[in-house]
Symmetry: C2
Subunit: 517 residues, 2 copies
């Protein structure tokens, strides 16, 4: 009849009561940083006794098995080496010596390579008939996916399952459109603009123009997937339409970082989802970071594997001049002279380090995961945004006064030192980030638990039909009531014309009458 | 630094951990059914150790002291007798023998009396200088109010306090407008229309027309309060503007009953807030209702104190023919022959009765509180809507298949009997209401606890500034980007004109050239 959910206190976090059922969840994740949140939710669902199956390509960047879920792999027609080429984003760190046109061409070619790689991966899964029929037999209750690459969305349709989306957002706002959510360009800034919700006339004009071309951008971005959809499903249905069937949208979005905006009932905000996914530091790291001056955490995300030696020296020279220790996650070539207070590691437990009371500063590229972790543990930040949503994210955090933004292309030792000294020694940064962190964490339920709740809701009720807005059945003429406005305008026009005509006739008659007199 | 909130299991409900602070809450409630939810929240806040002060008029319908809050009363220039006149809504139960015009005039006069009464009550509080300065000295953290009558909103402004609104909604949608929330008329049905979110062209046209006149309706409804605002605050500020300063909107709205629609970040849905506010039945009632056939609960809300004897007999004759017992909340003249299975009471513990496993059916006027209680405890309903939002509510519930709607003006014993038999004996009604009830209750947190959470949030952080959308700083030209559209249209027009001109000049030159040849 009804599933009453109780809450139990476990450690410092909030944990839902054991579920009243054991379901089967199919997870189609995305690679790279997108994997982090999906993995956290997959683990949490597995820990609650559900059978969780994660489908990943044999060759991938960072996805892999975990304690609480099974993995199913599928072959792909590329090897680790070609994947690594996609992973090196050297152009983000180095000023190009080439002409603008050549540079643009190179960047575009790189993006095209990434797109091709995503399409190939999707096709390798979807057109693997054996695997698909194997999955179809498992009797899953729902699909969890990051719909930026809509492989999971296509799979959900094929298997007739409801889908739960966990994502940061789709740049052309296709996620919001698919959820039927209004995003007024007058105060909802578009991706890559760096605008806040308070825009002047010029900014509003640019924002509106971007909003106008968004549908076109979506078309271009998802053209190949529309084609895959037709081949895979055998029906004329676009990705946009498929996405609008999603049961729940778990958005990694939070109002301490982003602007307050309208939301639809099935959009659940889970920004900071992996804040509480943490472990104690390994003993050697714990003893190394301990010290009266604390330490700085320096990571640039998993998409940057290498850095020009000159640029690396800029950082190292700055670190040499601060009393704090520095932990640097770096997989590239290590420069010759590394100061004693710097420890370079191929991988760092970033969230655990930031949660450590000794963390004084966080040098980050401004990826959303890192920023949410810094915010969660109230560590002021030096942000060196590189690509994607990072410049926007960094701008937003800087506008809250919890960090400074530096340009990676023109960064100097002095500039970095100034930035570090400011956020470490000027207590106002720490105070502001503590205040913002307090508000960020002051939510009725931890976002990971909330994600678990709604994922189980979809599994229990075979969807979330009661949250589906009727806007999804309307075309845009109906949505904006253009037909109604046309009718009303016509009625008004006819009324005005008739009134004028009547008036004229009356005047004429009156004139004639006067003449006769 | 940060207030970590733990959840503890208490009984069948979910209770927040004890608060980390003890605050002071000022409550300015509304009378009648509006009091029910406010009282529940005031009690809950008091139980958590906050000092809760409820300000009520000396003469009122149903407000009064409680265990966990203090009351402060203020004198009003009316007595209980005149209040009772407002409370008798006989015209809702009886077909008028008068002409349509006379009938309308009477109804309008009655509404005017209610409005005058609300204004008088508000003025009695706001212009009671001694009381105001007494309240100002108490050092409250926030104001909790039902802003349909904006006395509390005015008080919050005067005392410089953040406000929490707990309400069902304001008919002209002023609440949504004040929160900056879009309500597209294409799928958000307006009050009193009885439309769902799936409207045909004609319905959409009517809905749009109502949406167009809403601002005017708000103006008329709150004209006198605008005037009070000027006198009380000494500044030119309308109620609409004051309301837009509200920190949190706790809306008694739920998607199992209402249509899914866009919401703003500071709108928190708490439909069903008093579902878990319950006690065991008194012993005599418990033993009376026990029996193999169960019982029917019959209430028409606190605004109907009396009923024409003829209409009362219709009900009694139907009750005589069913095996169930009937508990009828009724304060009017009791007819001569009351069947043995009917018990008439001046007041009933409605929620406790509906929560009883013996409850088979609920005859209700369709007030939101009653419907939420029926929904919460999965009791199928016979609805006889009278006024206000009741016809809309009843229509919505009937469309979900959990009850039937009867017209109070033309109700017959046979019709009622048929309705009762259907919902009691046709198991589909029970099954549907059980399913809907399960979805209704499947929420991460009980709505009363959620209301407590956000009320405390506002007290902790002196508001909820991070949830305030920038739309509230925009005028409607900026909001709809009409200035941007005008600019873009002008640019486009100039471009087209220039192109046409160029083309003409070219053609002319070409023509001349040809001629010369």
């Amino acid at each position: 009849f009804v599933v009453l959910v109780f809450f139990l206190v476990v450690g410092t976090g909030i944990t839902l009561a054991p579920p009243s059922f054991s379901g089967k969840l199919l997870v189609i994740p995305m690679d790279g940083s997108h994997w982090v949140a999906i993995k956290a939710l997959a683990q949490a669902m597995g820990r609650r006794g559900h059978k969780v199956t994660v489908v990943i390509p044999e060759v991938n960047i960072r996805m892999g098995p975990g304690k609480h879920y099974d993995t199913v792999t599928f072959p792909v027609p590329y090897d680790k080496a070609s994947l690594n080429i996609i992973g090196t984003n050297k152009h983000l760190m180095e000023k190009s010596s080439e002409s603008f046109i050549q540079d643009m061409r190179k960047r575009f070619a790189h993006m095209q390579r990434i797109a091709d790689f995503l399409h190939t991966t999707a096709e390798s899964l979807l057109f693997n008939a054996t695997l698909i029929s194997h999955l179809a037999e498992q009797g899953f209750d729902a699909v969890l996916t990051d719909p930026m690459v809509p492989t999971g969305t296509l799979m959900a349709r094929k298997l007739g399952l409801p889908s739960i989306n966990l994502l940061r957002g789709i740049p052309c706002l296709m996620d919001m459109k698919a959820a039927g959510c209004p995003s007024p360009p007058s105060y909802v800034p578009r991706f890559f603009t760096g605008f806040t919700d308070k825009m002047n006339f010029m900014e509003r004009t640019i924002n509106t123009l971007i909003a106008l071309v968004e549908p076109l951008m979506c078309r271009v971005l998802y053209k190949h997937f529309d084609h895959i959809a037709y081949q895979f499903l055998g029906e004329e249905v676009g990705i946009a339409e498929l996405l609008s069937d999603s049961a729940i949208w778990l958005q990694r979005y939070d109002f301490t970082m982003e602007v307050p905006r309208p939301l639809m009932p099935n959009i659940i905000l889970v920004g900071g989802i992996n804040c509480n996914v943490r472990n104690p530091l390994p003993e050697d790291l714990e003893s190394w970071v301990s010290g009266e001056h604390g330490f700085v955490v320096f990571t640039l995300g998993s998409m940057v594997s290498d850095m020009p030696v000159k640029r690396a020296s800029v950082f190292l020279e700055a670190f040499r001049q601060i009393p704090q220790k520095v932990i640097w996650r770096y997989t590239g070539q290590i420069p010759d002279s590394v100061p004693d207070n710097v420890r370079i590691m191929e991988w760092v437990p970033q969230n655990d380090l930031l949660a450590h009371p000794g963390a004084r500063a966080f040098i980050t590229h401004g990826g959303s995961h890192g920023l949410f972790e810094g915010l969660c543990h109230a560590v002021p930040m030096v942000m060196v945004p590189l690509t994607a949503d990072q410049p926007d994210n960094a701008q937003k955090m800087a506008s809250k006064g919890v960090g400074v933004v530096l340009d990676i292309m023109s960064i100097t030792t002095e500039g970095l030192l100034q930035g570090l000294n400011a956020i470490i020694n000027d207590t106002r940064y720490k105070e502001r980030v503590q205040k913002l962190s307090a508000v960020h964490k002051d939510r009725p339920i931890d976002p990971l638990q909330l994600s678990v709740y709604w994922t189980e809701f979809v599994m229990r009720h075979k969807g979330a039909q009661h949250l589906r807005a009727a806007v999804l059945e309307l075309n845009w003429i109906q949505y904006f009531c253009l037909d109604v406005i046309a009718l009303l305008a016509t009625v008004l026009l006819v009324f005005v014309i008739l009134t004028v005509k009547c008036f004229k006739v009356c005047l004429r008659k009156l004139g004639r009458k006067r003449k006769q007199e």
